[in-house]
Symmetry: C2
Subunit: 304 residues, 2 copies
Amino acid sequence: MDPLDGKTVAIVGLGLMGGSLALALRSHPIALVGIETDSATRELALEYGLVDMVTANLAEGVAGADLVVLAAPVGVIVSTLATLPSACPTGCAVLDLGSTKQAIVAAMNKLPPSFKALGGHPMCGKETAGLRAADAGLYQGQTFILSRTTRSDSVMENLAVSFVAAIGARPLWLEPGEHDRLVALTSHLPYFVAVGLIAKATTAAQANKHLWRLSASGFRDTTRLAGSDPLMLRDITATNRVEILSALRDYAGVLEEIIKLLEQGDDELLLDWLIARQREHDRYRQEQQRSSAGTVARWPDRAE
Amino acid sequence: MDPLDGKTVAIVGLGLMGGSLALALRSHPIALVGIETDSATRELALEYGLVDMVTANLAEGVAGADLVVLAAPVGVIVSTLATLPSACPTGCAVLDLGSTKQAIVAAMNKLPPSFKALGGHPMCGKETAGLRAADAGLYQGQTFILSRTTRSDSVMENLAVSFVAAIGARPLWLEPGEHDRLVALTSHLPYFVAVGLIAKATTAAQANKHLWRLSASGFRDTTRLAGSDPLMLRDITATNRVEILSALRDYAGVLEEIIKLLEQGDDELLLDWLIARQREHDRYRQEQQRSSAGTVARWPDRAE
């Protein structure tokens, strides 16, 4: 029997990520509890039939939960972990969805021994926040990072793997430090790159009224991440500053190389360099498609 | 009567852009001729019924054409303009779709007085090149830049405006220099930004096998332009080097500001800055949606 069947899962935070979790879990034999401070979101969750019970009170929400999932910005996750021992004196099993892992795993390590805890991070999202943007398929086929803590054991690990499979995602075990170093490159750097483009283009648009009419789908996609929740990014930066700065400095060095290449004025040398980059882009897309193609066979969506 | 009705339009280059043009024009009372050096593409164009006649020979293709549209990378457009006087000794009307305008308008200015010519640049595209990626809706609602040359007159301008309306696009008259300066920011800079991210991430992926599994939709969209045709970008760079270098250096300065902001470690200051950038992103998206919403009323698609 699946370790998740018949269990009660409490989701702390019914925004895009928590709401999408609830939608993905809805067809499983699981009781769902939502814990959400915003009253309009609580009403919406009940209206959608997203959860069996919803409350603003952490202690009330986690009482009787077999698994508590923290779906909030990193800062809220860390402060929730600090209040959990008083909200749930008997202990419980905790998993999170936070964007960085070192600060959260450190907070989990401080939980009393009656708690079981694992760090988690699904590699998906949208630039639109909030429950109305929730999507049952958000996690489908996506990588779900899991990080061990001093508060995890094999029972907790089996529960987490079952949870990841239930939402159609694919688990990948990583050390928190390795996770934070890699996502600084694949997620945080692209965000700051997009934000920088928006800052530069806005300045130019103030000087020339035609600028936005000359921006097409390329500009739109390259800057999409600049619409992300600033609070989430503030917390990410606060807990992954060293790695983000390192990625930004390395990237500034790559831009400097590109500037030098253009200054040289040798267009055939530039062409060779651009062809090599296009091939790298092709290989990256192939890697992506290969790992997505493997999803269905390995992690069938039990909801269907 | 529409100045385009009953006319013959010759399209030089049946790739993504030229093929999409043919698809968009197919339902209009216009004869279409394709001029294409690749034999497989010529066969495909006939198979699709995309054009009424297809040839590899420029002189044969432009004979009898009321409008010749050059749909190729900038370098090919410039060299085609150089051979047009011998291919079409009696002169013809020429419009192009090239990504930069100064070099092309300069070449158009050198055409004999029997020629009429306007520079053009539709603000749309895809990172996938070739006729198989062609799309009848590619130009729908998009801005189509038009640049006057010393070889244009009101008859030519009316013909070009009618052509732009026929494919569902919206004309915007701009000086070639202003065009090249603005697209350096909205199109060429985002390309090099994406290429830089792919270069950096590929190096990291060679050192860590998990890296690509930690890249999600944000990375995918931010780097999409790195899949663009390197030949097209080589030609763009060769004809817009000064503006691209200026945009890259300005952008490197913005990244330097971001690095300093992160080094300061004042996360509330960072939050304020990120909120301001998110608002700028919102305003840009609103501008985009407003200009798209105006499309239907001003330029009804006559194909429907």
